[in-house]
Subunit: 150 residues, 10 copies
């Protein structure tokens, strides 16, 4: 049987290949014609790509066939390892959920009733906002409201 | 020594008192003249209130002095108990961090360099966005970029 | 401030009150005009009840006002404590998820594509199926398919 | 000693081989003449196959002998790794057990007395139910009732 | 609402009451006409008692009504707290499962095929065996074989 | 330095070699002239074998020298990995300890005083008991009583 | 039913009562005519006392009857809570087991063969050893060797 | 870059090499002119050796250069893996700390005041003590007292 | 027996009493004539106070006798609960240990040889350092070097 | 695709290469013209290096290109594995945070108000302080104060 690799291994190879090629995540997204948040997530293993999308990336980053195949497999999405969760750049989002989770819950229920923000019918945006005291990172989570419906 | 209560106990009493009074979190914020995300977080224990703010809330919700005092104490911010983290409305945010944490990290570093979004110099917004397929919950996290600086 | 109790404490009182009153969960459901799975879950703390529903239960089981109020509060749904998860009657469902979780995942993706069964737009049924070798417990989980949609 | 592989490794190879061969889990089941839930579980490592069954699969998917041998070994069934349990498609079943586990327990005891639904004398069904608001995933767990009997 | 207590609290009270009354677990079993292993387990919270059985115990140990009621409630069976599992008298059974669990599994499958020893249709015996080098504790676990049957 | 393997790796190889050779655990025990529970435990890594015993097994199962050497090394006995403990055939013994651990403790203390059943000066028996409702698995744990003695 | 308390609660009361009475652990041991290590362990909940011993302590420390009764109950021995294990005075013993556990194991097996030091047929000594660079704490663990014997 | 190995890997190789060479831990210590407890700990990875010491061991056990180099590296000391901690020979020391940890703490504070036994300025002795009821393992922990000193 | 409280409960009362009295931690330290880091730690439960010190605090903060007594008891020092460790003000120190722990270890060994910085013979300083880009928190840990000495 | 290695693997190789080369961490820092704390952290994986810096190190320590590349990759910073955290040299810093964490928090809030010491805009110093009773390790943590600012 021919060699294959996991999506996790594929993500590692893609991080290195992108670094070597000197191409940005945003440029890859542009080539694919999709949001940079979606394509980066797919390349790191959180969404399956079509064969056509995987081929575009393969050419941009000079990847092996095994990587291209892994990009098309159905993912297991989670969890992050402790290594990743404790990284300060990611941990601050955990910290925000800790400090404001119950607040978000109360305000969702007040505005929408008993239900949740979907993390499936969902999109993400990461942007820069200029500010005189220092620029700001603005991350927007945008998901469909789903109500408990028996 | 006079009775005192923890901020966690105060939060429980406030949730019930608000329910009994039939006042919304947004109305409380309006009375305080602050963002509803900040005041709800403060009432649930994540920010200290000034004596003046605590008095406004006391009158709106007919709270005991012990609750008012607790609102002014310096908080310990976290973590959420497992009970709270596993609640589906809050868990979806965990799930989004799981699926997209490394993506957010890559995109912050690509845009800003080596550093983090502050969760201290930080603000939060929870809003509704109308959509023909069903309205959406939009949660915006907005924090100052901090670079690793020796 | 008047006394209040948590939904967990309310559930404990309801279990005892139901035992003392000699009324079945199914009879309570019938009085409420809802599925027995929904009403039992609500009485054990997983769904909020309307004031009208809570009053029906209060009369059937001779409950205190604090219990009735707790039934109407917005719930935190989970997780089960280790005490509850390890109970053999409940653990067998964990065991089934362990043995068949990846199977269910593969078959959902094969039939529906990349997505999930909603646990929010969801209903449950617990029934008896007669069988010559011994009757069987049949539990049906029925949730809307949600596809990953950016 | 000749090479051998674990059932977990075999499952990984089968997932890739099936993807490459473009055959569905249902088609494999049909060739074996068994339920698709049983055969998928067996191929992913939760049931031992007979030599005859393993040979059918070997031919369909062009598998190595080591995979065929692994399929016939007695399995260890569980637990799922955290990676797998946190995948949203599988996690929703955990969430359903969290929200409704005590409800299921009460209703089993009310209908059958003190005992459990067997997860050994047990079968599973995964199906699609058409619905105007969007089709639904219906998962049926069907196990023999076992009463505590000293 | 009248006072009630948990089965765990009831077990604590029974341990003390038995100590004060100077009655053995075996004598209680004899009064109930059941195996001492079953009655001790029931008194410690692992089996529900009938009203008649609970009344016999109430008289023997001068228990409150709340204890008698708790004995009749449907139990949640487990898990043991870490406090209990680490007690050396109980831990040695954990240690035996650690050292011999896979052995027991191989020998059950060799003798019976793919399946388990039921812990539901199950009984237990604790006995003394005289031995010249020091008497021995003999614990017998006896459960129905259940085969995986789809 | 010549190759060597761990006892865990040796156990994996022995499970496969036994399967390929079509020899039962009981037949191996017979060749060794010991109880099948002892020899199976030794082959799976829980007891050291003498060189003579290891050679008998090597010939029966056509094992490499590295396996034979590993069988003679002093073992580390435990714990079982979560993978193994959660296997239903083994988990039922955990469940029995959960349900009956405190019962066993009370009955040992009642019969013998303050002390434990040794898991070192200890033997195990796994047997079949015929029964009209279905045959039963009978597992006997037999260890020397050790009293707390200062 | 008369009040009773747990051994843990009794230990807390004894620590305070000893402090108030200004009596040393060694003096209590002397009154009891036993090693100070045994009596301190018994007073902190790790050994049952006889009624006579408990009465001696009751008089020395002016304890309630509930404490005296608790001292005579059969203990559950462990584990220490994380609070206790992380205390530096106790943690250093954990650290010593971490650094030297495998060394102790190798040397026991080299001297005695396959077996263990009993923690049941066991005694402990805590002493001061004068030393010019600063006095030393000398803790001696002395337990019967038990060999694996089938 | 030339091959290197971890201290853990080195320890595994040394255990096997010692077994093959038929040399005791005590004999190695004698060749090194140090206590057998120190040298065994160093060989298992808990102390760095000098180049001279490592060379003596290399010759005695016919070790590769990579092992000799690893013995000289600065160690990370802990923790033991769960595999090692649960081994009964080592676990009994954990159990002794559980049963007697608070006792040791009280007696150290009574004798020395507020402080600890050092695990750094520390030595260990493992010995046999003959006894008519069976010989005993005597383990002595001997560390400098360190008082809390600001 | 007179009431007593734990050091943890005492710390909670002291935090509230200090807030009510409007006295700073530094002022308390000044009254005691000790470093503010030592006295704050003692008041929060990490060091025992003398009776004289406890009386000074009692008068400053109008504390009950039970608090004063608790301040003099020998402490258990740790660990912090998860609640406390996850607080962002404290967590940043954890994060610094994560990012720089191995660095600190290498530099200590390079400068001092094999050993540790004592956390017992140890003092702490927390100070402000003015800086044009914003003032800085400077925390100094100062402990005696202890070398591994057999 | 050319070989690449993780930063963790790179750190292991650097530790060995430095040992072989007989160069100190301080000398490497001197060649790089940066603080020894920063460069050691970067070499152990906690900061990215520039290509120029990585080349300097490559020449000093004769490293492979894969190591040099890894040094330039963006790091994931944490957490430390349990192996590393439990090492006594590092653990003492954990212990200090345990004993003094709440003290540090109170004193930061008293001096600066509600906020934290940044671990990002942060620098570290490790130094020796001579002392007649034995030299001392002095570790200084110096981070910008960040106030909670909405």
């Amino acid at each position: 049987m021919e060699q294959f690799i996991s999506k996790r291994e594929a993500a590692e190879r893609i991080r290195v290949a992108r670094h070597r090629a000197g191409i940005t995540w945003a440029q890859i997204a542009e080539q694919l014609g999709v949001a940079k948040e979606w394509s980066t997530a797919a390349l790191l293993g959180s969404h399956p790509m079509t064969a056509a999308q995987a081929t575009v990336v393969q050419e941009l980053l000079s990847l092996d066939d095994a990587v291209t195949e892994a990009l098309q497999m159905q993912p297991y999405r989670g969890p992050l390892s402790e290594d990743v969760l404790a990284d300060p750049t990611i941990y601050r989002f955990q910290e925000a959920v800790m400090a404001y989770g119950p607040t978000i819950k109360e305000l969702i229920h007040e505005e929408f009733g008993d239900g949740i923000m979907s993390a499936i019918n969902f999109q993400l945006d990461v942007a820069r906002r200029a500010h005189p005291d220092g620029d700001r990172v603005v991350v927007t989570l945008d998901g469909k409201f789903l109500d408990y419906r028996w």
